[in-house]
């Protein structure tokens, strides 16, 4: 993996054509260069920096991956932002394609930072349910990429399909999902309110999710054929 060097954020501009125009002073995004392209830096070496669109794409992808690992939307949101913060203080690996989108290496590197941040967070907060076993995390990341959950367009299509599938669910199942995910209640709290065993409720939730997964896949295939 080739890494760049000589990153300068204080590159100036001058009217006579001297100085570097790769970066606007104090601004990390490439301005007049194409995103993800190598640019000669005044301080020497080559630099790759993400543009704004890439960062926004990265933030969405990191939020989803953080949610995948932690199951906590607020934590995932904070960790995605923190990952961007940490990543901006480092040299980015090559791996963005010609359009500046995140390729394999850069995406993997960002997810690695996020995983480390989540692991540190878990040490601070033992109550949090986070995947920390490296074997599980590796498998989860492979599945995340295989199913193209790292791609905004694919994820948005799934969201739309899910919204449609939710309408087709029986009212009680919909209410159950609302209590668990919309209101953010723990399984044991929902079970208590419904006077059920937590294990039984957990199994029921699993069945509803399985049904929804089948529906979402069917909807997406249907759209592809149309």
């Amino acid at each position: 993996m080739k890494k760049h060097s000589g990153l300068s954020t204080s590159a100036g501009q001058s009217g006579d054509g001297s100085g570097c125009r790769c970066l606007v002073p104090g601004w990390f995004f490439l301005s007049d260069s194409e995103p993800g392209r190598h640019s000669i830096m005044e301080g020497g070496g080559l630099a790759i920096k993400p543009d704004a669109e890439t960062l926004i794409h990265a933030q969405g992808m990191l939020y989803r991956f953080g949610l995948f690992l932690s199951g906590e939307p607020d934590l995932a949101r904070d960790m995605a932002q923190d990952t961007i913060r940490v990543a901006l203080s480092k040299d980015w690996p090559a791996g963005m394609d010609a359009e500046g989108k995140l390729g394999g290496e850069a995406g993997k590197w960002l997810r690695g930072i996020l995983h480390n941040l989540l692991r540190n967070q878990r040490r601070k907060d033992r109550r949090s349910r986070l995947l920390f076993d490296s074997e599980i995390v590796d498998a989860a990341e492979r599945r995340f990429v295989e199913t193209r959950a790292d791609q905004d367009e694919v994820w948005q299509a799934r969201r739309a399909a899910l919204a449609d599938c939710l309408k087709r669910l029986p009212a009680d199942d919909r209410e159950l999902l609302r209590e668990r995910y919309e209101l953010g209640r723990a399984v044991k709290d929902v079970a208590e309110l419904r006077r059920l065993e937590a294990n039984a409720l957990s199994k029921r939730l699993e069945r509803v999710r399985r049904a929804l997964r089948g529906c979402v896949e069917w909807r997406l295939k249907d759209e592809t054929h149309e």
Binding site: C20, R21, R143, F144, L166, E182, K203, R209, L212
Partner: protein, 330 residues
């Protein structure tokens, strides 16, 4: 192995589970992620909405109770609001580094994502940023300044709460208690003139929906009133390029007093053809590097087009001599 297990339980169960069970678990995990992404956001919005109503009711009760207490009013006057960002956005610090969540300070830059963003300083202003809009929050208390680099931004400014200025690449706008839209975009124009040249032009459009805006642009100073709009165009950064080539020769152009005023570098450019590039003494490092080049040397350079007034030449902004194999010299 299910989603409601603790991390430790999961780790144990994972080791013993067959492949099919692991795969089903990951499928279930992904489905839950999708559900959380869709439903948790909905719940948060509702809770926020419910919270707003509860807060409004509480505030009303509070105001009634404290109606006679001028001390609260005085205390409240002393506080300056903190910024509130919502929507889809990325924030970077003034030095280009990242910003910790909730730690948005003056100098920070905000770039709105596809869904747009909202930047609010309660009681002072509220900005609506369209997708791709880039701003920097500057100024100081009661003298708010927003640098609008690119994109469309609507500013709703509360009157009589200090000044509010929008700085664009072309000039600045001062709000006089108002609601106005500013749009900065760049157009790339092709110009003929000896050689083909590309100019990047900043176009600033101001539309006033309420109140008035004082404009200070190069060719216009005045006030735009409600319902008025005006477009200002300015020449922005000029775009150049980067290339590798082999030196054919370096020629010194001298003034009448025999003093060298520029160096003309002729290159055989990779990909074919010969081109000339100019190095001016204003950029000492480039000038020195070009002056030391010999025929056959390989270089990599970045250039920008000069203006029509200097003959539409390609000016070298950065140059590096390459080793024989094309590797950059350390």
């Amino acid at each position: 192995m299910d989603l409601d297990s603790t991390a430790e339980e999961l780790a144990r169960a994972w080791g013993e589970a067959p492949e099919a069970q692991r795969s089903a678990f990951l499928d279930d995990l992904l489905m839950e992620t999708l559900l959380m992404d869709v439903l948790a956001a909905k719940g948060k919005a509702r809770r926020r909405s419910a919270w707003v109503w509860r807060a409004a009711a509480a505030a009303a009760a509070f105001v009634l109770l404290m109606a006679g207490a001028a001390g609260w009013w005085l205390w409240n006057q002393g506080r300056y609001p903190r910024p509130d960002l919502s929507g889809e956005f990325v924030v970077t610090a003034e030095d280009g580094g990242g910003v910790k969540t909730g730690d948005i300070r003056r100098g920070c830059r905000v770039t709105a994502g596809k869904g747009g963003a909202r930047f609010r300083l309660k009681g002072r202003f509220e900005l609506t940023l369209d997708a791709g809009c880039r701003i920097a929050w500057k100024g100081r208390e009661k003298e708010e300044v927003i640098d609008l680099d690119e994109g469309r931004m609507r500013s709703v400014v509360v009157p009589k709460q200090g000044t509010f200025t929008v700085v664009t690449p072309r000039g600045s706008l001062k709000a006089l208690g108002t609601d106005f839209v500013t749009d900065v975009r760049y157009e790339t124009l092709l110009k003929e003139g000896g050689t083909m040249k590309m100019n990047r032009v900043a176009v600033v459009t101001v539309m006033v929906a309420a109140g008035a805006v004082a404009c200070a642009f190069d060719n216009y100073t005045g006030v735009l009133n409600v319902g008025m709009s005006r477009t200002f165009a300015a020449e922005g950064e000029r775009q150049g390029g980067e290339l590798n080539g082999t030196v054919v020769g370096v020629e010194s152009v001298k003034a009448q007093n025999e003093k060298a005023i520029r160096l003309v570098l002729t290159l055989t450019v990779e990909g074919g053809g010969q081109e000339t590039f100019i190095a001016g003494p204003g950029n000492a490092q480039v000038y020195k590097t070009v002056g030391a080049l010999k025929a056959g040397d390989r270089v990599r350079l970045g250039w920008v087009p000069g203006g029509a007034e200097i003959g539409n030449q390609k000016w070298i902004r950065v140059i590096r001599k390459l080793e024989g194999g094309g590797e950059e010299k350390k």
